[in-house]
């Protein structure tokens, strides 16, 4: 079955290209009805405020929350991670809507603005264990968020060191009354909680397809757990945006 990719804004084309490289079809999702026809979803990188606004205008939040709650696998990269988090700090004035579901606190633009974007080799032994390859992977961080704290059921897959020049950030404590300063010297950048996967960096901008394979393995596991009486109905709602004949060519991957 195809994997849905939320196509409101951002790097959805990059995810679809990455899926294509491993032989899986990606479907662009822009409306709530389209979610019914896929059994997994990727929320791409981009601007989370833009995606939140569009999701709100087209009433996507209830459908997204239901999708997450139903146990179907969802993967959020960067802006997608912010969408899935239960709590987010560093938001715009007035805050922004979140889908929620991932028990963690995420800080938007943790590392700074564009000029502080960077790339680093991340140590990912858990990924290498499941998908092979080297025990490090290339992490591309673009105005990236970072996960400050996680709940007990969340599995940390990768973290990254915080430089001493990093601006101090404050996180609200669990009772919401005060803020304490974040003092760890590492932040978490990839987590998994049940059916949810979240990364603060962009695997779709690299040629390493292990993260996409890891996500597809999650999708396979979820399918095995589905009861046989579930009926898979195909919804043919994709006629408008997925006409490949007219689609422009895509940008390359830079190594």
């Amino acid at each position: 079955m195809a994997v849905g990719v939320l196509a409101l804004q951002g790097s959805y084309n990059e995810h679809i290209a990455a899926l294509r490289r491993i032989g899986v079809k990606g479907i662009e999702i822009r409306k709530a009805e389209q979610l019914r026809g896929v059994d997994s979803l990727i929320i791409p990188g981009g601007e989370s405020t833009t995606m939140a606004k569009l999701a709100e205008l087209h009433n996507l939040f209830p459908a997204l929350r239901e999708f997450v709650g139903s146990g179907k696998p969802v993967w959020g990269t960067c802006a997608g991670l912010i969408f899935l988090a239960n709590k987010a700090t560093g938001q715009k004035t007035g805050g922004q809507d979140l889908v929620g579901g991932l028990d963690c606190t995420v800080h938007r633009n943790f590392f700074g603005s564009q000029l502080q974007s960077f790339e680093m080799e991340l140590s990912v032994p858990k990924l290498a264990e499941k998908e092979g390859g080297t025990s490090t992977c290339r992490g591309v961080f673009i105005r990236a968020p970072a996960i400050l704290e996680v709940g007990p059921n969340v599995e940390v897959i990768a973290d990254c060191p915080v430089s001493s020049e990093q601006l101090k950030v404050a996180i609200p404590t669990s009772d919401g009354q005060e803020e304490k300063e974040f003092t760890n010297n590492r932040v978490i950048v990839a987590v998994k909680q049940g059916n949810l996967l979240a990364t603060a960096f962009h695997p779709e901008l690299t040629s390493d397809s292990r993260w996409h394979r890891y996500f597809l393995a999650m999708v396979e596991e979820a399918k095995e757990e589905a009861t046989p009486s579930e009926v898979m109905v195909k919804y043919d709602l994709y006629g408008d945006g997925n006409d490949r004949a007219k689609k422009p060519y895509d940008l390359p991957i830079f190594e």
């Binding site: 196509a7 409101l8 804004q9 951002g10 790097s11 959805y12 084309n13 990059e14 290209a17 990455a18 294509r20 490289r21 822009r30 990188g45 981009g46 601007e47 405020t49 833009t50 606004k53 569009l54 205008l57 087209h58 960067c78 802006a79 560093g90 938001q91 715009k92 004035t93 007035g94 938007r108 633009n109 603005s113 564009q114 000029l115 974007s117 960077f118 790339e119 680093m120 290339r138 591309v140 673009i142 105005r143 962009h202 901008l205 040629s207 408008d240 945006g241 422009p248 060519y249 895509d250 940008l251 390359p252 991957i253 830079f254 190594e255």
Partner: protein, 313 residues
């Protein structure tokens, strides 16, 4: 080569040689990667922190900080320069989305200043008065990514050769008239289409004819598109205009005077954002186009008194 298995292209500052994996995203390839997060979005020109907040609220994926929108520059005459850094800092503090700012063509010190105050992108803009009428900035020297205007494929590839990480059409800024932007998008796309079917042996002479670096022309031929993110700009005033540019093949849209010069900027901003996301859905486009008071008063380009920004290159 540009079939859909995922072309892995290696980029080395346009010199065509292999480069090491970059730890620092300030290589051209890294900067292009940064721009990809803006795809499918709308970048709005704002002159005050309040306008910036309206833009962010409406769903803009970035804002362009300007002191005067192009429609006013045209009307006032005189020399238009980089904005006051204090204004740019105020706008940066007001929003959480990326902030871009303009520098004059060739004015590398204005670009250094903008980079020093931490803007996310620098726009080397023909809307400001040209500082150097022969040469553009050597954008490879900067950590900040640059966006540059073009009116045809040759110009686009020249700018990319100089280090631009993102290209937009020049259009005719400040007029609310989208005809020039459309003409330029069609010029670029049309040239790429004919380039794709060209015999490889003919590309040498073609590169000379359009006065563009050969390596970039060849790379464009293989990819079937520009190797960088391409936005439309200049004269986009309505949601339908924005969807038109997306359907013509652009990755996103800049809106300059069109939003804050209209009578209902909040609704119009939101409508343009929706139009870009749902650009293939006419029903949604119809919904977001209804009920507006007047769009910005446009300028008809056939009027010989109007000066053309796009002639500056």
């Amino acid at each position: 080569m540009a079939d859909n298995n995922g072309v892995v292209a290696v980029y080395g500052n346009g010199a065509g040689e292999l480069s090491e994996p970059s730890k620092n995203l300030a290589t051209l390839s890294g900067k292009v990667g940064l721009a990809r997060m803006l795809r499918g979005g709308v970048i709005m020109e704002v002159a005050t922190p309040e306008q910036a907040r309206i833009a962010e609220e409406a769903g803009a994926c970035a804002v362009m900080a300007v002191e005067h929108v192009p429609a006013d520059i045209g009307a006032q005459g005189g020399v238009a320069r980089m904005s006051d850094p204090a204004l740019i800092r105020d706008i940066k503090r007001a929003v959480t989305i990326p902030v871009m700012a303009k520098a004059r063509i060739g004015h590398f010190v204005e670009a250094q200043i903008l980079q020093a105050i931490g803007v996310d992108y620098v726009d080397e803009s023909e809307v400001l008065t040209q500082a150097d009428d022969q040469h553009h900035i050597n954008k490879h020297n900067f950590k900040a990514p640059f966006v540059c205007g073009c009116s045809d494929l040759g110009e686009a590839l020249c700018r990319i050769g100089e280090g631009a990480a993102m290209i937009r059409t020049k259009g005719e800024a400040g007029t609310g008239n989208v005809v020039e932007a459309v003409r330029q998008v069609r010029a670029v796309m049309g040239a790429i289409r004919s380039l794709r079917t060209m015999d490889d042996d003919e590309v040498f002479a073609y590169a000379k004819k359009i006065a563009a670096p050969y390596d970039l022309v060849m790379q464009t031929k293989q990819l079937g598109r520009l190797p960088v993110v391409q936005f439309a700009a200049g004269g986009v005033a309505t949601p339908a205009d924005a969807a038109l540019m997306m359907q013509l093949g652009c990755d996103g849209v800049f809106v300059d005077s069109g939003i804050f010069k209209s009578r209902d900027p909040v609704r119009r901003a939101r409508a343009v954002v929706q139009a870009v996301t749902h650009h293939t859905d006419p029903k949604i486009l119809a919904d977001v186009s209804t009920g507006f008071e007047e769009a910005m008063e446009g300028i008809n380009l056939k009027d010989s008194r109007t000066e053309r920004f796009a002639r500056r290159s």
